[in-house]
């Protein structure tokens, strides 16, 4: 009986180990034009091309920005019927239910570009292991970011478990964000092409993933 229990426990550990490998990252922007898609793509490509993980990229949007990119290329389809490009599988035009299914069932690293409509993406973000919020502390956009975090993040999540990104690495902007939320944001700049990453980009992507 004891031996049986021991074996049972070993099995659970194995299951936990597998579960650990499964990671989902949900990225949401405090507004449009902040580079949410750009950073999501960089993250997905880094995970596959550098960390050699199996990666599924999901674009949660009623209007896909990426679909045209694949339509004029002869790209093959991946195991989940998504477009395969540079080793990453792209699932576009998926409904909430389908995305939740992927998060729960597909054994891969999942990066979800949730766009900037928090209300419609909330159910998906809720299911992500890692939530990343992107905004700007530039004078003309800081209000929007602070409002977004207060209205959507503070109310719904433990803010210490959220990763905050700001565009640029201005210390004053990092400090300003800190003064509001007591969280240090990651300053992101200069990832030129998410499909052609450079080694200089790795540190910042690692920081986002950490």
């Amino acid at each position: 009986m004891i031996l049986k229990n021991k074996l049972k426990n070993t099995g659970n550990k194995k299951k936990l180990k597998n579960r650990k490998e499964k990671r989902s990252y949900g990225l949401t922007g405090a507004g449009s034009g902040l580079g949410t898609t750009h950073i999501s793509l960089a993250l997905a490509n880094y995970m596959h091309s550098v960390l050699k993980k199996k990666v599924v990229f999901i674009e949660y949007s009623s209007k896909s920005n990426l679909i045209s990119m694949f339509q004029d290329k002869n790209v093959s389809l991946g195991p989940n019927d998504g477009y395969m490009y540079k080793g990453v599988e792209y699932l576009l035009h998926k409904r909430e239910r389908e995305i939740l299914d992927v998060i729960n069932k597909v054994n891969a690293y999942i990066v979800i570009d949730c766009g900037c409509d928090f209300d419609s993406a909330k159910a998906i973000l809720d299911h992500c292991d890692n939530k990343i919020v992107i905004g700007s502390m530039k004078p003309w956009r800081q209000r929007e970011y602070i409002k977004y975090v207060n209205k959507n993040i503070v109310k719904n999540y433990d803010i210490s478990k959220i990763k905050y990104l700001i565009d640029g690495k201005e210390l004053a902007e990092i400090k300003l964000f800190y003064s509001f939320f007591k969280r240090r944001p990651v300053g992101v700049s200069n990832i030129q092409n998410p499909f052609r990453l450079r080694e200089e980009d790795f540190d910042i992507i690692n920081e986002i993933m950490a």
Binding site: N45, Y46, H48, S49, V50, L51, K52, S68, M69, D72, K86, G87, V88, Q192, N193, P194, F195, R196, L197, R198, E199, F202
Partner: protein
């Protein structure tokens, strides 16, 4: 003239060249933010087919020496072609500020030969480039690229081709609308070599002058018959015979393959230690995982004091090549001795030296592949019993080296160093530091 109707897809960054009916533009491909070259020509222009013929000619080639064609399209008024934007300096620009040393001269010359050789031999029929000049040779960090195939033709269609080309670079028969073949390109290559020589430290090398004079002879019957012939002569002049296609590659790397006779016999451990040893005692050395085990990635995650630069991970005296996927900028392979970790396999790899790592544990396989008798293969028993080593040596009629038990991968004991020294002694291409 900037063609209308392309704005949706392309943002014009810079006009590189333009006439009333043609334009060469540097554009941003909006969908993925990639810089590309867009060549447009008005449909009414007499040479409007040149864009289509350029695309047609290049579509079959997949080579690092020529730009990739992405698409060909048309608007109501224009044909246009979109191709890879080739970064770097042209040979002309480079020579304005630089003088070539001997190595650089031969590197570029031999690379140029290879490009032409590829064009002349790769397709179903030879493609004559017809526009070789310093402006069209782009120098990248380790490669060269030929750009602008606007007047290139297939050999069989050269008769109908117009007498186009650039004076002082194009062959006399090309400018006079004579019969063209590969030797026409050889003439232009000879002229480029002449231009390079005058801007190099080899200015007074008479043997090189003689070779160039032969390539750029006005009488085409006196020229080299093929680019390959010219390339071999250049290699001889450089002091390196054309031994094999492998040595013909610009990197004269030495490859040492490490193979396990079974799983878990310590192949990776030995490969890494060997890499550290070679780096310390012989020459620059790089570990490369050939088994697809993502070893370099795991080293990156687990080792402290690492530095990654241009696709190489540096840790103490150990270097490993990162195996990035397609979404990372590619880096040129560095020169040196490559330690290739194949893990467990039965296939004989293509390498200058193969070290077969064997174990003698009861559960480990004792059967070695037939190719073990090959001269390039050495048997290395990892911490095996001396009697087992003697038996194995008798069975395979080969000396069996014994690698000692080593705790650390990167701090190698003097006993292990001695074994590595013996393994590599008197091997071609491996010169010990004094």
């Amino acid at each position: 003239m900037i063609p209308t109707g392309i704005d949706d897809e392309y943002e014009v960054i810079r006009i590189l060249q333009q006439t009333a009916a043609t334009a060469v533009l540097l554009v941003n491909y909006r969908k993925i933010g990639d810089l590309r070259i867009l060549k447009a020509i008005h449909k009414g222009h007499s040479g409007s087919n040149s864009i289509l013929s350029e695309a047609h000619l290049l579509k079959g080639f997949k080579s690092p020496y020529i730009p990739t064609i992405y698409s060909v399209g048309e608007t109501t008024e224009y044909y246009f072609l979109v191709e890879e934007y080739v970064e770097g300096l042209s040979l002309r620009e480079y020579l304005l500020d630089n003088k070539l040393d001997e190595n650089k001269f031969y590197d570029i010359s031999i690379e140029l030969c290879k490009v032409l050789e590829m064009l002349h031999t790769a397709g179903s029929e030879a493609v004559l480039y017809r526009d070789l000049k310093p402006e069209h040779v782009m120098l990248q960090s380790e490669n060269i690229k030929l750009i602008d195939f606007g007047i290139s033709v297939e050999k069989s269609k050269a008769k109908e081709a117009k007498a186009l080309g650039t004076k002082s670079w194009a062959s006399p028969e090309q400018l006079e609308n004579g019969i063209l073949d590969e030797r026409s390109d050889i003439y232009s290559l000879g002229k480029i070599l002449e231009y390079m020589q005058s801007n190099s430290s080899l200015k007074d090398d008479y043997r090189l002058k003689r070779l160039i004079a032969k390539a750029a002879d006005v009488d085409k019957s006196k020229r080299f018959k093929s680019v390959c012939e010219l390339k071999e002569e250049l290699l001889k002049l450089r002091g390196k015979e054309l031994l094999s296609e492998k040595f013909d590659e610009k990197h004269l790397n030495v490859n040492i393959a490490i193979i396990g006779a079974d799983k878990s016999v310590g192949t990776t451990h030995i490969a890494m230690s060997l890499c550290s040893y070679v780096n310390k005692r012989i020459d620059k050395s790089y570990y490369k995982d050939m088994a697809g085990d993502d070893t370099a990635i795991r080293l990156k995650e687990n080792l402290k004091n690492i530095k990654i630069k241009k696709g190489v991970l540096y840790h103490e005296s150990f270097n490993a090549l990162m195996d990035y996927g397609p979404a990372v900028e590619s880096y040129d392979s560095p020169f040196g001795i490559y330690i290739l970790d194949y893990g467990y396999t039965n296939q004989m790899p293509d390498a200058d030296l193969v070290i077969m790592v064997v174990g003698d544990k009861p559960w480990q396989s004792k059967a070695l592949p037939e190719w073990i008798i090959d001269k390039r293969v050495i048997i290395l028993g990892n911490h095996i019993d001396r009697i087992n080593a003697i038996q194995m040596a008798k069975r395979y009629r080969k000396k069996v080296f014994i690698y000692p038990y080593e705790k650390s991968v990167f701090k190698i004991s003097s006993r292990a160093e001695k074994i590595f020294c013996e393994l590599l002694k008197n091997r071609d291409g491996i010169d010990f530091k004094k």
